[in-house]
Symmetry: C2
């Protein structure tokens, strides 16, 4: 019955049980295990042995209650289906995981009510901070500023300038794309982008136009907007070859559009990259790496967006005040065979 006496409860062992087994007080056991206070080496060993034997794991809820912090951060995703969310999410988890904060994941599934519900749950759980991850780069409603924890927006910026938002730099991306085409000697360059309702499309187009202007060139024609599909890429090429057959470079708004562009060019007898250079956007491996020829593309570095967002909440938790801003993160070029031999 000694066993019963030492472990009367059914659940995991408590510190009191460890202390009793080691023949010390709870206070001493605590000190021995946390290591923050001095304890005689012999005692320490006995406590450690007892803890080991009972498979003791300190109840984090008790610590949370005491410390007022939980070492958790809420990840409020708008929709886990979105393929852009995952890298952001993985980057954030990575940045936190190497520290000792854990991530509580909530999927609002595009529903504002569910988002409020999850927000409340996160606050009840006393998360130390929140990252709101959107599924497009269009601004989204702010959660407001009456929240007792720091909030950082990732991918989709907040519509409130007083918030902190970490976003991919689509303007720089558009510009990087056109600069690359210019660098490989192209001069008659068109931009075929996606749905104009997307900030991503508008921003990339702005970068495109800025790049052309810096080079002292007029774009072949104004950016063409459509949707984010392969079909639109094909259709746009038909238009383009009729109206501007001299085209020698195409900046596509996405890899899917680029794939359509490549197909249509091939079918029109144009050789890529000899006759026309094509660059995509997103560096979506499955599309870019397997298209023929391989598709040069802009990689938005979404993991970094997640990591930086995590860093910002981390800093805020540590006490640094968040500086309200939209922080665009650098993008980079992944070169394949569609722009140059």
């Amino acid at each position: 019955m000694t066993e019963t006496q030492i472990r009367p409860s059914t659940g995991p062992a408590t510190l009191a049980e460890v202390a009793r087994l080691a023949g010390v007080s709870v206070a001493t056991a605590s000190k021995a295990l946390t290591g923050r206070h001095h304890v005689a080496p012999a005692t320490r060993q006995r406590v450690l042995a007892a803890a080991e034997k009972l498979a003791f794991t300190p109840n984090q809820s008790a610590r949370n209650l005491l410390e007022g912090r939980t070492g958790t951060v809420g990840l409020l995703a708008s929709d886990l289906e979105g393929r852009f969310m995952i890298p952001v999410l993985a980057g954030a988890e990575d940045a936190f995981g190497t520290g000792s904060v854990n991530v509580i994941l909530c999927d609002a599934r595009g529903d504002a009510v569910r988002e409020q519900h999850h927000l409340k749950a996160l606050l009840n759980r006393r998360v130390d901070g929140i990252i709101v991850v959107g599924d497009s780069t269009n601004p989204r409603p702010s959660l407001g500023h009456r929240l007792p924890v720091p909030v950082v927006y990732a991918y989709a910026p907040s519509d409130d300038a007083a918030d902190v938002s970490i976003v991919p730099d689509n303007v720089a991306g558009g510009r990087l794309a056109v600069d690359h085409l210019l660098a490989v000697g192209r001069r008659s360059i068109a931009h075929v982008s996606g749905d104009p309702a997307y900030a991503a499309a508008q921003d990339r187009a702005r970068g495109f136009l800025a790049g052309m202007e810096s080079a002292g060139l007029d774009p072949l024609l104004q950016p063409l907007f459509g949707d984010w599909s392969e079909r639109w890429g094909r259709d746009a090429v038909s238009l383009l070859l009729r109206s501007h057959p001299e085209v020698d470079g195409i900046v596509a708004g996405s890899d899917q559009i680029a794939r359509g562009v490549l197909d249509a060019l091939r079918e029109a007898g144009k050789i890529v990259p000899d006759d026309v250079s094509v660059i995509g956007y997103d560096n979506w491996e499955v599309l870019a790496a397997t298209s023929r020829p391989g598709l040069t593309s802009i990689d938005a570095n979404l993991e970094q967006v997640g990591r930086v967002a995590a860093m910002r909440v981390f800093e805020a938790i540590a006490g640094t005040a968040l500086a309200p801003a939209v922080e665009p993160q650098p993008v980079n070029l992944v070169m394949r065979a569609s722009t140059i031999h």
Copy 2:
């Protein structure tokens, strides 16, 4: 200074503060807010008003400590990059989110040490259960049975038969694929699969062979294994057309392989689906829907794998003992133009 008296602490409001503002005891305030015990309507209103005014949110850590449960489940992912993990994860989050349990997400990044580290953190946090999500369907090491909480394995089964694993039914998938080709009148059917080191490849091949046998047919040749790439799909078709030009149906081990198969067939002058029917596996939208012709494919229903895993932990938490088993989940066929007009 009344304000200071009522809110001496800096953090979120406590129940005691709400009680004081409402002029009642903490116990009454608690009863009024939880609604589990009877309180005079007028008092209730006062308490609610006070809580509202102070933006009170009950400290979940305190409740956890009291109740011994936390209403959280750990999601131990082996690698968030894997594209098969995300739907499983989303399914689990969905199943839990509609209840009131939250998910703590941990990414082991394929590292056993990190996995142990995260496991310990989850146990410290007193999660009520754990779902281990693997990134392939190959069996993975069990976490063991000395754990104080129910564990369910999703996608990758545990290598220990005493555990509960929820997996996609790859055998049924292989069979469903070949049955479909048989149903559309094909008889000379080959199977081009991926890396034979993958259980997924072996299982689908077994299903394929079983389906052929049930139909009283010999497969055109033994399943061909290679890797999961488009290139292998193309190469396999070259081999196949040389050795068995009468082939009229191909079951591909993945959509990527299928895409290569489609390309190679087209280049060899074969019309799909007139001359040859092709079926893929995974129903990876971006590939299957945009290939030409659209690719009929097996959808593994991964969200359901996640949801069922969530249900099993949920049941275990509620007290039902987990029945050790590998539970294969049904898959389904998504028909497009590559198998029949």
